[in-house]
């Protein structure tokens, strides 16, 4: 959506006076982390204190976040674009130093509020969901730690602090995915998640090191000397890194690699569907709303680096594009379509949502690449709400169907679980992107940016196709679960209030949040980019905008319609083939088997890695182990030699010496024979000798 030309005020960086809100920002991640530490010390049966601590700490963080958000909004309303930083030195090495710090600007403010709010709702939801689990306390400890780490990523002003919290987020994700660690599949999924994101993190770390080396600082904003500020960027643009890239582009691509891993983009998406092994609140929080969004947030944070060198138009909008942004766009678009295709053929309720998340993350990345920070972030925020809603709704369904997760064994739940059905429907329509739900506005923003991009045309068609698929598979899922006849065992029942109330709250936002970003009142974009906006219906009359909105609505309705036609009120038994399967069985098989990406990895990388591990094992056991054994043998022999020496020579020698001594003594004792005459003789002989000596010496 093009911005209205309402006298864009020049952003003033309010950096001289740092407000209380900015100072308090450090508490936001710290309090939940401390709470996690305290919960870790509690014993397992103490559930109420654990839950209270976690929810209380996140609530406290939410209050501070709201306060900071209000401060930023107030600033924005009076024409100031906030960017307050609080930096401090962590390690001082001579002239250079490693600094950490946090930043309060519109981007971090909205993200903070979203993470705290959605997180809080999910915490409350978990109290009900995990009630029957015996590891309740451990769950809340990990949840609180995750919340703290994620908030750390959000407020970080230093790439190093961001990376540290990023890794912590990855760790807690591992702990939570593998929460039921006695299940081999859960443990394997956790390991897969950790290792796959690790691949991305390695490139990320390389990017950090390179950036530090090139600019001397890891702070984003530091009153002009930060790495995202003009001076550093200009510097980076002048350095060349081979392959025709500038240093800025190369570093941006490396950092994007980290985002690829964390946000499950192609080709590192394989961990996200498996991560559904964790409890549903975990899926909702981590793999829908927050952690996977961290990758998108990272790209938004380093956007100045990514877009460095792009020509700017008169209104400040991007009139050109850079290599990193092109890469981001294509990967995002490809992921969107790829994952949507696979989602069509899945039968696990959570897996459908997982692939849907991967697809939507692709949308966000494409939005960032094509339209800038505001476009991508808007979709992130709205997606967080309705995806969390969908996951929690699916959790409610699973709970109500007595831990059943296969959609083919559900059905007819719209009457058995009405609240869940209504909220789920709202979320589904938001995800599909039907007007006037939130998803429509945010997705349309992306489509509009794709359409009006002068440089790359392909993504637009891919994204439209993806929207069609999204509507189709969501309709399929909803038909299977809520319509038709009940095909499971037992009786489904509605979930308790502690689970349904958060659903209602999220549903409300799923419906209304979109209005923050309509063409008539693009408040979100104005807020993030530091421009004033006013409500003007004339915004709808942008050239081409009306056609675009009509077109996307038509696509969505088409998808919904095909889905209803194929799956509608029919309730195929689990053994029967799917409707689409009957139509195109070969395609269905490929999609159901997730387009064989995991198998490909298994044959190539994993196999190679396994081979390498075997080599290392052989080396370790045979070569190093052999050397160690040999050295041990040598030492043993040496010890034996020493012992022999000690016994034979030292002891023996000593014994011999003692024998000699005593026999010598015996020999000498023979001189004491007790006979006087012998003594006399000896005396006389001695006297002779003495006399001779005396005489001789006196003569000489």
């Amino acid at each position: 959506m093009l911005m209205q030309d309402v006298g864009t005020f020049h952003p003033q960086i309010a950096g001289s006076s740092v407000s209380t809100a900015a100072h308090l920002l450090g508490l936001i991640p710290a309090v939940p982390m401390v709470a996690a530490g305290v919960i870790a010390l509690l014993k397992q049966p103490r559930r109420k204190p654990a839950a209270a601590l976690a929810i209380g700490s996140l609530g406290f963080s939410l209050l501070i976040a709201l306060y900071a958000f209000a401060h930023v909004v107030a600033d924005w309303a009076s024409g100031i674009a906030t960017r307050e930083v609080v930096n401090f030195t962590w390690i001082q090495t001579g002239a250079s130093s490693v600094d950490l710090g946090w930043v309060l600007d519109p981007l971090s403010a909205v993200m903070m509020v979203m993470v705290c709010f959605v997180g809080l709702l999910i915490f409350i939801y978990s109290v009900g969901y995990m009630e029957h689990d015996e590891n309740f306390t451990r769950f809340f400890c990990f949840l609180a730690l995750f919340a703290g780490a994620m908030l750390g990523v959000v407020i970080a002003n230093s790439l190093l602090l961001l990376f540290m919290c990023w890794e912590l987020v990855g760790l807690t994700s591992y702990l939570l995915i593998g929460f039921w660690y006695h299940k081999p599949s859960a443990a394997a999924a956790a390991k897969k998640a950790f290792l796959t994101t690790r691949v991305g993190d390695i490139f990320f770390f390389l990017g950090i090191v390179w950036l530090f080396n090139a600019t001397g600082t890891l702070l984003f904003y530091n009153h002009g000397s930060g790495s995202m500020e003009g001076l550093a960027l200009a510097n980076l643009l002048t350095q060349h890194a081979g392959l025709g890239l500038t240093a800025a582009a190369a570093i941006a691509l490396l950092i994007f690699a980290g985002a690829v891993g964390k946000s499950g983009q192609l080709p590192l998406h394989v961990w996200l569907p498996d991560a559904m092994e964790g409890p549903t609140p975990v899926s909702a929080l981590i793999h829908a709303a927050t952690m996977v969004a961290a990758g998108v947030y990272l790209v938004a944070r380093v956007y100045p680096l990514m877009s460095a060198g792009a020509l700017l138009g008169s209104g400040g909008e991007i009139a050109g594009t850079t290599t990193p942004l092109i890469v981001v766009t294509w990967i995002g678009s490809a992921t969107a379509v790829f994952a949507a295709l696979i989602a069509i053929a899945q039968n696990d309720i959570k897996r459908i949502l997982a692939y849907s998340t991967v697809s939507q993350l692709g949308y966000m990345m494409a939005g960032l690449g094509l339209g800038g920070v505001a476009v991508g972030m808007f979709h992130l925020i709205t997606h967080a709400f309705f995806k969390a809603l969908l996951f929690m709704g699916s959790g409610s369904v699973i709970h109500g169907c007595h831990e059943e997760q296969d959609v083919r064994r559900m059905g007819g739940l719209k009457s058995a679980m009405p609240v869940t059905f209504l909220t789920y429907a709202a979320g589904m329509l938001a995800l599909a992107g039907l007007i006037p739900f939130a998803g429509f506005w945010s997705k349309d923003g992306i489509l509009e940016a794709a359409h009006s991009s002068g440089f790359i045309k392909g993504p637009y068609y891919l994204l439209v196709f993806g929207a069609l698929l999204t509507a189709f598979y969501m309709m399929r899922q909803v038909s299977y679960v809520f319509f038709g006849k009940w095909r499971g065992h037992g009786h489904p029942h509605e979930s308790p209030k502690v689970m349904t109330v958060p659903l209602l709250i999220l549903a409300f936002f799923a419906v209304t949040l979109g209005f923050l970003g309509t063409p008539a009142w693009p408040w979100f974009r104005g807020f993030l980019e530091g421009r004033a906006v006013r409500f003007d219906l004339a915004g709808f009359s942008e050239p081409g905008l009306g056609m675009l909105m009509l077109g996307s609505t038509a696509v969505v309705l088409l998808g919904l319609g095909i889905g209803w036609a194929l799956y509608g009120n029919k309730s195929p038994q689990p053994e029967e083939p799917d409707a689409l399967e009957r139509a195109v069985p070969w395609a269905w098989a490929a999609l159901r088997d997730r387009l064989y990406v995991d198998e490909f990895y298994g044959v190539t990388f994993i196999a190679f890695y396994g081979w390498w591990a075997r080599v290392a094992d052989w080396l370790d056991r045979r070569v190093w182990g052999g050397i160690v054994a040999l050295v041990t043998r040598l030492f043993g022999l040496w010890a034996q030699l020493n012992r022999w020496l000690d016994n034979e020579w030292i002891n023996g020698g000593f014994d011999k010496a003692c024998e000699e001594l005593s026999s010598g003594g015996g020999l000498l004792a023979r001189a004491q024979n007790g006979r006087v005459q012998i003594y006399l003789r000896v005396l006389a002989a001695a006297v002779i000798a003495l006399a001779i000596i005396l005489i001789w010496s006196s003569r000489a």
Partner: protein, 166 residues
Amino acid sequence: MSVVFYALAALTVAGGLGAVLLKNTVHAALAVAVAFAGLALLFLSLDAQFAGFAQILVYVGAVAILVVFAILLTRASETPAGGVFSSSWLAGLAIAAGVFAVLGWAVLGSAQALPLSAVAPSATVHDIGVALVGRYVLPLEIVALLLTAATIGAVIVALHEKERTR
């Protein structure tokens, strides 16, 4: 040297040899008495009259008799079975010969430092008495003490012990 000297020397040496070589102990004791007498005469020939007579009085008159008494009391008059000489008498002889050789060599090899006084000195009893209570009064008293102690000691040592456990 005069003939007297040679005769007296021969007598003394003969007595000594007899004392050492004779198998019968009593004969040996008597031979040593002869040696003592010869020595006394040698003293006289050296103008040491007092010493000569003292020699006769003490040695011949007391020591020799004492030796004979001891021989009789210990029944040494009977010739013992193993011979009168110790089993390793040659070693003792050799050592004695060595001593004589050294002494002789010392005497003959040394040059005379001072001229010999040709005049015989006078050593009257009066002189000796004066010397004894004058210059040598301390040795005199000590010798007196010594003799007393020796007498008492000899008596005690030789006293027949009462029947005590040995």
